[in-house]
């Protein structure tokens, strides 16, 4: 299952934190900063799987060789889009490549909702960010992977606020649609 979904920017500023276990705020922050440190040091050519951060690695018990799975989070998957890192922490029951696709669906859904999404949208509409995630993952289990249904689900909860126009002084708001087509694996 999925243990946590995190979004932070290139400076480690959190944009979304979602833990599917109840965790102390301070521990959450430590985990975020540990993962940020790991992820920020990786060259872009590296693969999208992180070694376990110290906070998770230290306490992970060595699984017995006979058991295939256990409850211990063992996989940290991330994707980097422009200024943002999307991170999923999960156990061995999730497929690593499918998780990468899942992040892709999430970003595409956001792009649909905000029409050309950028970090600013997410900063000012963190509620929508949460709502979109809730359409895809409930309690650490993936409930929806279809782009249309996710977007539909969020829209049914009310109008999605646009980014305040005063802030969009940045010209380089390229389309993200290209991104949607170039998903690495046609996993869906």
């Amino acid at each position: 299952m999925i243990n946590a979904v995190l979004v932070f920017n290139n400076n480690g500023q959190p944009r979304l934190t979602k833990f599917y276990t109840q965790l102390d705020t301070s521990v959450q922050q430590r985990l975020i900063s540990e993962i940020f440190t790991l992820v920020a040091n990786r060259p872009n050519s590296s693969c999208n799987f992180l070694p376990l951060p110290p906070l998770l690695a230290g306490s992970s018990t060595t699984p017995s060789p006979t058991a295939q799975h256990n409850d211990t989070p063992s996989l940290v998957t991330y994707r980097h889009y422009a200024t943002l890192y999307f991170i999923i922490i999960s156990t061995s029951t999730e497929s690593p490549l499918a998780l990468l696709d899942l992040i892709q669906v999430y970003v595409e859904a956001l792009d649909r909702l905000f029409e050309n999404v950028c970090e600013l949208d997410l900063i000012f509409n963190f509620e929508t960010l949460h709502a979109t995630l809730a359409e895809m993952i409930v309690g650490g289990v993936v409930v929806e992977t279809g782009l249309e249904r996710v977007v539909e689900g969020v829209k049914s909860q009310g109008r999605v606020a646009k980014r305040p126009t005063g802030d969009s002084g940045v010209g380089s708001l390229g389309r993200l649609g290209a991104l949607g087509r170039e998903g690495i694996w046609v996993g869906r």
């Binding site: 499918a98 991104l179 170039e182």
Partner: protein, 980 residues
Amino acid sequence: MFEKSLYDLIRGLRNHKGNEKEYIQESLRECRKEIRSQDMNLKATALLKITYLEMFGYDMSWASFNVLEVMSSQIYGQKKVGYLAAIQSFRPDTEVLMLAENLLKKDLTSPTPVVITLPLVAIPHVVNPSMANSLLSDLLPRLTHSHAAIRKKTIVTLYRLALVYPETLRPAWPKIKERLQDENEDPSVTSAIVNVVCELGWRRPQDFLPLAPRLFDLLVAGGNNWMAIKLIKLFATLTPLEPRLIKKLLPPLTTIIKTTPAMSLLYECIHGIIQGGILDSIEGTTEGEEVARLCVGKLRSMLVVEGDPNLKFVALLAFQKIVTSHPHLVSLHQDVILECIDDPDISIRMRALDLAVGMVNPENVAMIVERLLRQLFEAPVATAADDITNDRGMHNGVEPAADSDDEGAGEALRPAERKSSLPPPLPEEYRVNAIRSILEICSRDTYANLSDFDWYLDVLVKLVKACPTVQPSSTNDDSLSDDSRDNRDISYAIGRELQNVAVRVKSMRTEAAAAAQFLLLTDSRDKLFPAHGNGGRGVLGYCAWIAGEYAPFLTSPEAVLDSLLHSSTTRLPPPTLAISIHAILKLVTHICGSGMTWTPHRRTTTALLLAKTIHFLEPLASHPALEVQERAVEYLELLRLAAEAATGHPASDEAFAEPPLLLTQALPALFTGMELNPVAPGALRKVPPPADIDLDAPINPNLAAILRAAEEDDLSEELQDGFEIFYKQRPEGIAISDSAVSAAARLEAALKSDLSSSYQNPSPVEDDATTARRRAERRERYKDDPFYIASDEDSGSGSQMHRIIKNSNGGEEIDIDAIPIMDLELEHGELLRAAAPAKKKASRRRVEIVADENLGGDGEDASRPDPVRPVPARGKKSVLLVDSSGLGSLSLEGDSGGTLDIEQREAEEKALREVERLRLEMQRASERIQAKEEGVVVRKKKKKRGKEGDAPPVAVEEGVAAKPKKKKRQIDMTDAAVPA
């Protein structure tokens, strides 16, 4: 007053670059005020703001009641804010949870689907067992809700309910199963059920076998790759239980592997085939060969063709799983796998390294090791900046910072470009891993893969140079076990390998000794050890041991001795230094001990050598490490005796002169007895305990009475006789004999006094008859008391030496034959066992490798439990872990499976939390005391604690203990000052 919206807060944050902290504190103050207002709108906005700030680590637990207020709002928008705040901020100890229960129930039965969704999503975050019990009845009807979105979320929520309250599954599982079997069900609901079943499946696979036909149909029907991935994962847990499934699964799986364009599905198919043991069970058949070849071929293409680092990574993971069962299949592809060892991505390298360790065989061992060596020496050393622990994030944590608008936050989210970058410098962790892998590859199964030990020794010596610098730790080296030392400094492991080769491979002893000599010589150390830092030093202790033990094999023992006597040796860590001291004595013995004629020249060189050694050892006699000190003191005495014997022994140039016996016979006899052989770790435990020893029988049956008697005994009298005499009236003779008299003279004197004073003779001090009688009485009383050490009868007379000798000789005659000695019968067992080479080749040299000695069979003997082996402690839970162990005891199929002990478990957990809380409190209390040593502050705390009443008395105790301790220390110091 002006109220800020979330938008204003974020804008404000961005406008207050540099002093965000103050701005946030101010905003939080405003929020605290706003949240108490009667205006729901204002309340909800304030809550949204603090929820936003919670993301940056600002605690919002104080607002939990307000969260509840907003959750119960009638307006959907506000309700949504309240639920989000609850999800983000509620913790297991949040007290308002009880109050939330009714609200959740109410919202679950709402007619509006979007409102139902809110509690469905929130429940997994906040649920506890008692709540689960009460919510269950409201959740179950939602399984048949007309909206598919509600149905699938309900299913997942029920799963999370089951994790804390397994009983949930009794009513829920039949309904969920019904949904799964329903072919008209919305595919996304089916997919969600499969996800849940996959999570449940690995805990209790046997309960899901009846579902196999339906799951199989879903897999064959295809259409949804996400679901197919989960189905395959699920089947991988089912196949070990039901081998017939394998035959059925193989055709669809191979079809998918051959046809699917989705790499994730392809990978999971292969992974499932490996994980489910399908490869093993069809092994030998033509079909099996084909499938295996297909899988491995696809994995190979993932490594080579795609050039995608993610595919490389997962392919290596899959290879890793095959390598244990099918090493030959993997080693067919060693070319591409070894390519990955040089991959710029460290994650991929690590995987490849693990894999290399698994697929090593006698043919490729040299190639793999050479490759790793080249990598270790060619890559630049990682600088401190590359070390992640030095990153600012680790020290400061993440603070919300105002990022200006033009910083790129407006940039659309595109995948970051993959830039080719230079190969990164090797981080130390990787270096250590690589070295450890090399050692493991070579030493596996007592060197089964190795034939060329010359080469191996060369590799070991080279590795020393690659050792990363080790941070000197504050902990004393003495306290570290071998393992923990290895973890800190890999060079210890290298040293141990050198030692292992020297001991086990007799034919290579000369070469091993030469390698040790090479590493020990100070002249060559510059070349062999890393240029910077202190890496590799751990190898020195082992080298010194080899040099000492196998001194006859050294080409120039004198040079080695010189290097060991170099002043830099004294700066080595204490355990290494202790070994070096021992090696020095062995070397001295070897150099001086030859039986050749005793010429004046030889006498001079020997005396010089001994003097030099004594000079080296003298300062070490006061070394802080006890092991070093003890050895230094002992060997000093020995060497002083030897020096005296050497200088006093008449030498002759012409006729054959016998060298002193102490040098040729006595000293060598200390070290040349039996050959040292490796002993299996469990061998000692296999020595059966003597039959006539009853460990349960008390040594002294009336111990309690004796203890009582001891308490009643007059203490002052005791002090006067025993302690006073021993500590205060120390005979002055000791001090004098310690330094002034030479060792030989002392020995002689000791012998003389031993002859003159017999055991029975009363000492001249004891002239008082009454004292003597009283002592005799007490001695009689305490004869069997293990806690009573009889005071020396002659504590006033004689030198230290005298006493020592007397105690060992003049005491009870020890009957050496009476000491029970177990006959280990080691000689009958096979001492030498040639490691059978896997393949006999004409070119391969047969090397005799000594295997571990053991008693009886090789297996572990359970008859005698290892007293030292630690009981496997229950590991600490991972922070993110969602515990599903409660499911393990619940049978889904039977009516009443295992008994459930939810309440007990809950109580246990509660107790554990309580313990943890107390521990933290204690820790904080002690920290406070440490921070404020002032007695006043401590006392204040004490009062406050006392008022609270329920707080543990730890802080108080600490506070009380702190003061007298300080006082006591002062007394101690003055006491110590008096004798000085």
